[in-house]
Amino acid sequence: MSNFRIAGKGRVNRSRQVRFSFDGVDYTGCEGDTLASALLANGVHLVGRSFKYHRPRGILSAGSEEPNALVGSNRGNGRFEPNTRATVLEVFEGLKTESQNRWPSLTRDIGAVNDALYMLFSAGFYYKTFMWPKSFWDKVYEPVIRNAAGLGKAPTAPDPDVYASRFAHCDVLVVGGGAAGLAAALEAGRSGASVILCDEQSEIGGSLLSEPTAEINGQLAWDWLEDTNAALAAMPNVTVLPRTTAIGYYHQNFVGLCQRLTDHLSIVPDGAPRERMWKVRAKQVVLAQGAIEKPLVFAGNDRPGVMLAGAARTYLNRYGVKVGNRVVIVTSHDSAWHAAFDLAKAGVEVAAIVDVRGTVPTQLVAAADALRIKTLIGWTITGTKGRLRVSSVRVNPVTTGGKVGGAETIACDALLMSGGWTPSIHLFSHTQGSLTWNEDGQMFLPGRGKEECRLAGAGKGRFGLKAAFEDGAAAGAAAAADAGFTAQPASYHVEGELSFTGVTGRELPTDRDPGHAKAFVDFQNDVMAKDIRLAVREGFKSIEHIKRYTTNGMATDQGKTSNINGLAVASDALKRPIPAVGLTTFRPPYTPTSFGTFAGYNKGELFEVTRKTPIDGWAAENGAVFEPVSLWRRAWYFPQVGEDMHAAVARECKAVRSSLGMFDASTLGKIEIVGPDAAEFMNRMYTNAWTKLAPGRCRYGLLLGEDGFIRDDGVIGRLSHDRFHVTTTTGGAARVLNMMEDYLQTEWPDLKVWLTSTTEQWSVIALQGPNARKLIEPFVEGIDLSEGAFPHMAVATGKIFGVPTRLFRVSFTGELGFEINVPARYGRAVWEKLFEAGQRFGITPYGTETMHVLRAEKGYIIVGQDTDGTLTPDDAGLSWAVGKTKPDFVGKRSLSRPDMLVPNRKQLVGLLTSDPKTVLEEGAQIVLDPNQPVPMDMVGHVTSSYWSAELGRSIALAVIQGGRSLQGQTVHVPMPDKVHAATITGMVFVDPENTRLSA
């Protein structure tokens, strides 16, 4: 491989060579290289194929704005990322990279046939070319297009990396570590303000890294930079974050930063996060993000070897890499001339400087003459040649009248272009700050801001180092002052400034038909100037519509290099000035950001909170299968060897009905309601009457929303005159407490009552079955468990196995039952004691599935399963739980609204299938006449459906319009296999007389 590294140039560490590969070929780079600089050092320009036309593409830029050079990067151990920008990716020993969107290889790519068929793929081709026949869209066109077009392939294996996040608060956040940002950080840091300075590059310095010969206050730029970095590092109030991109700017100066921690390391320490999301709240923000160079728009401007002039200068000065041996410059702006000069001085042959302007500053022409560089002032470029790398350019003179003369061809292996510079106002735009069009500079500049934010330097249109330093210093000092500190901005003396005048790029004039020119505007989405003109011809006038129709600026680079050029082409086509055409909106993130960074710690086990009960460990050790219930994981069933779920649940059900089962009910929501007005509060919240409930007794409580629909239910025990122990559904605990607090705080603040969540204070063990009392009697102290003293729906405090208990005599199974509340730290020990002692009754642990079957056999509802937020107490058959004589409770007034009184409301009923073996699907729709045409009139749906081992048949609950009046009638349930007939019944299937409760 030829070596394009130039001795004595650049900042990369020549003594630290690293080996990496691209498309299976091994290369050597230096520590400090990006993949792009390392490939260019090896003479590689061709790095990818374009999105739509599969055109060969090279490296356009030297920064995060890169639209072309996207590669798949493999950092080993399953760490693969598609669409990594080669200009950002730092090389390290062992890095493996590959090109994308090509088959079978980058140099010979079948998809390149699209380039010849480009007329098919013009703006809006999706909507036009492939509309007929319609049936072909899903099956043929779309899959083929999707397969051929596109970027890299997403990895299919889970991301092996971990990610981090961190909140930070500071006085001044400075985004961008170039001249302006450094000056701002210095001023703010010296003032004593807490400062965070972030920059997306691996090294702080911005454009200073490409300006080794400039002198700042008498120091060479790199010496000044070294001293400045040391000065900032010595300030304990300043945090400097390289490799950290400010991706989004949100309300109240909340800025998201993505810090890359380990992507540049060849060996990643175990457990080291790949990236960290900083969530910074800054009192003041200084945005010093610099400017992005614009490409010129002309035929063949996308060929490998065609590059931004500023990028070529960066590769030369920062990385010590020449981008070619014989280069041509084409420009509308002074800055590209400096690239030519630097390259010429480094020994690169500069074949010509083509400047499309009629006049150019004389000192530039003089400097070019001194270096014997041919200058073509007032010329245009009308084409390039070279299949996989530019080999020549076609240039033509343009008369003052705009007439394009005869062409000349100049051989070259690199073409460097500049259409001027676009201030990076992306983050400012995130704040919805307004933009103003600057006619002189042909650029959008920040207008009125909406946050405590300043811009500085090139990002605000202040080009040149001195302007950037002084603007940055002023912004830093002012930001510090606004944050309450005192600062006096320093002044800067700079030698060796670049010249920064120019005109903005329009599509360059040509002697050929511009309707056939492959003059690219958006390289990543393959949008050409003629596509934009076509969109205008087809009637699109708004830039937002043109953007979406042509996809200009919609790629992963968000049009960093294409937006202004696209706007200029649209403006010409619409014959309206640029500010009248407008600019599309920039949105976060500033650059593509991994999902992992957004997820932070929330992946794998920490994806979401998994709440576990004190007894969870026992269940896990004893083979429980778990199911998620809100944030909890609950034991679903306890299969024994050889059992499937059906067998396990049947066995568990049988054990409870015949002897004894035990169930972990710890997840039940619990609220302690205490105070002299506790009963009054209960009266107002719940439908039931509470005043007369004696201490030591329980009642089923039904809670409605103000709209009259069932919100929650649970058994409530009165412990004393002024203390209630309320239980809620597992999923409803937080919601119910919030609702109660809302009423208490804002409607009835006069009530002397307070609410405390005790869900996790108590571990709850439900013992259910005819032998329940026999089991616990020997172990309970202080409570007379006899039927007379402690009947169904009683509650008492005492001790069990020596630990305090709140013992409830309740049943959600229809059997004799207790719910033993013990302080949570004793939950597991009490459970184990009961399990041990219960062996003589064949005690059987059961899970939520058995609990569901047993309660359904008794017609006990589950709020949220049998109700869906549209059922009133009457709909659910719970009118008995409504205190008719109470003057008011939450939801009462709604129960008499007209809609609540119509006879045909959906009501909860039982269903028995004609075939007892059929277990209906929960959620299945119900119809009265199965022979009616589709769509059928659906009168309800199945809410609960199980196999009842007790009955040896299936049972179901359902809501059906006017269901209670249809008892005994047959309805039909269409399911995928067939339509099942079922009979409407009452809701209680087992022991309707409740004799077992008091067994």
């Binding site: 400012f428 500049l445 920040p446 801001g449 300043r454 811009l455 606004d482 103000e706 607090e741 003057p887």
Partner: protein, 113 residues
């Protein structure tokens, strides 16, 4: 993430500690049974949903636990002020006063080139 001033804690706290709780100053009628169906419907369902200034309720759920009221602009998302539950709807003058007291001189002008 917004910063919200809790009028009970007397401190600005991050938005994640708060939950939104709908429009403010809609008191539950003292005697719902005295309301017509239409009046009750309006109480239940009809809200102002303004573009701009909105009087609304928040709860410092993961903080002091209190419900309170806020004046927020639904376009800019900016809070003009927050105040304790049970205090009356602030007047235009009070809101203007709160805004001018909380916002220091804005450097928006300086963002201009």
């Amino acid at each position: 993430m917004l910063l919200i001033r809790c009028p009970y804690c007397e401190a600005e706290r991050p938005e994640v500690e708060f939950t939104y709780a709908g429009e403010a100053h809609i008191a539950r009628p003292a005697d719902p049974s005295a309301l017509s169906d239409e009046e009750w419907r309006d109480f239940l369902f009809i809200r102002t949903n303004p573009r701009g200034r909105h009087f609304e309720r928040w709860r410092h759920m993961h903080g002091c636990g209190r419900f309170f009221n806020a004046v927020r602009d639904t376009v800019t998302d900016k809070f003009a002020m927050t105040y304790k539950a049970g205090t009356p709807r602030p007047s235009d003058e009070e809101i203007a006063l709160a805004v001018s007291a909380s916002s220091a001189a804005t450097p928006a002008e300086e963002a201009r080139p």
